[in-house]
């Protein structure tokens, strides 16, 4: 789920930056998932697309292929404005982000750098 070394490589080995963006993501991700829930409930395709796009961008640093794909799927559901598959896709994404959020909470609590 969370490949610390792969993420660190993408950030040029910058441990401090990893800690910083993990912190930003911990604040941002639940908020974005929440606004996707609201968008799905309100059948608001443009806002679903926007929130999924933003989350996809953040996940591209911290998440793996599977979780990025889940966000990408919601983004295209929003773009197509057919929300039939949205609740299921959102649940799949939320399940995966839960795992990532716990891993990142741990990372921020116990930084590997001095």
């Amino acid at each position: 789920m969370f490949d610390r070394q792969a993420v660190l490589d993408r950030l040029g080995g910058d441990e401090q930056l990893l800690g910083e963006i993990a912190g930003l993501f911990l604040e941002d991700c639940p908020r974005l998932v929440q606004s996707m829930r609201e968008a799905v409930a309100a059948a608001d395709a443009p806002n679903l697309q926007l929130a999924a796009h933003t989350l996809k961008g953040s996940l591209s640093y911290l998440g793996g292929c599977r979780i990025c794909e889940a966000a990408r799927r919601l983004e295209s559901i929003g773009a197509d404005a057919d929300l039939t598959g949205a609740p299921e896709a959102l649940q799949a994404l939320a399940d995966q982000t839960d795992g990532l959020l716990s891993a990142l909470t741990e990372l921020v609590a116990q930084p590997a750098y001095p």
């Binding site: 490589d9 993408r10 950030l11 040029g12 910058d14 930056l17 910083e20 963006i21 930003l24 993501f25 941002d28 926007l50 796009h53 933003t54 996809k56 961008g57 953040s58 591209s60 640093y61 990408r72 983004e75």
Partner: protein, 319 residues
Amino acid sequence: MSALSIDSRSTSTLEPPAERLPGETTVLIVDDNLIDRRVAGRIVERQNGWKVAFARNGAEALLALERDAPRIVLTDLQMPEMDGLALVKEIRAKHSQIPVVLMTANGSEKIATEALQSGAASYVPKRDLAEELASTLKQVVAAARIDGQHQGLLACLTQRESRFWLGNDPALIAGLVALLQEDLLAMQLCDATGAIRVGMALEQALLNALYHGTLEVGMALRRNDEDYFRQMVEQRRVQAPYRNRRIRVLATITRDEATYVVLDQGPGFDPSKLPNPTDQENLNRSSGRGVLLIRTFMDRVTFSPTGNQITMVKRREGR
């Protein structure tokens, strides 16, 4: 043919050291995603003498252009308010001397292609920011430093043919590119953005002729192991057969078009093996970027069958 000497103050474009850039360089980073802004900003801040300004979309970027006077803009493509493509067009219309570099990602290939055709100077895949961003920004800033001191005289010029035989000194490339850019502007073949883009294409062609052709050191090596790459370059510059090879550059410029022919004396390659220029997926990879930029920024590009010679034509821009 004119007898021109190459500016001896020129610096290496492979990676011009930041401290040689006059004054501070502000990079305007435009992205709607906070984490993307932080990652790119951090890489820029680590460069000596570089400063960062941020904007969250194209509309904010236009205000920041006035406020922060950036030397270069680095932008995302898909953004609310005003996207990267619209921003590229606005900057070309109002600030054509400021180059724009795109950050590309999966899903943005189509808009990235359009932005590259509309005026962007280069691109960096988001997944390669850590390795590629700093060197790309430096290269583009160098290509945008166009010297206008001979403009009055050159405005009287109607045609010029220049021929250069370069050795294998990377430091000469920037000077030659700047000289050729100056001709281009004097002939009014394009605006400042166009000259920056032709400069990027010429530089890529010259770097290919030098590293791939003359010295036979692959750019892939540079990405993987920068120190070893530099060591190989220094070794081969004084070693036979590499040291005896020269690069010939022919530049013919008229009021209608500029033609550049770059020939190296290396073993050549099979040009049909180059990445397919119409495959938009290439925008998500750093490899093959040089040839993609050349093909986008020049109007006609042909290789000799042995790959040693590239001919590039830039026609007058209709505007």
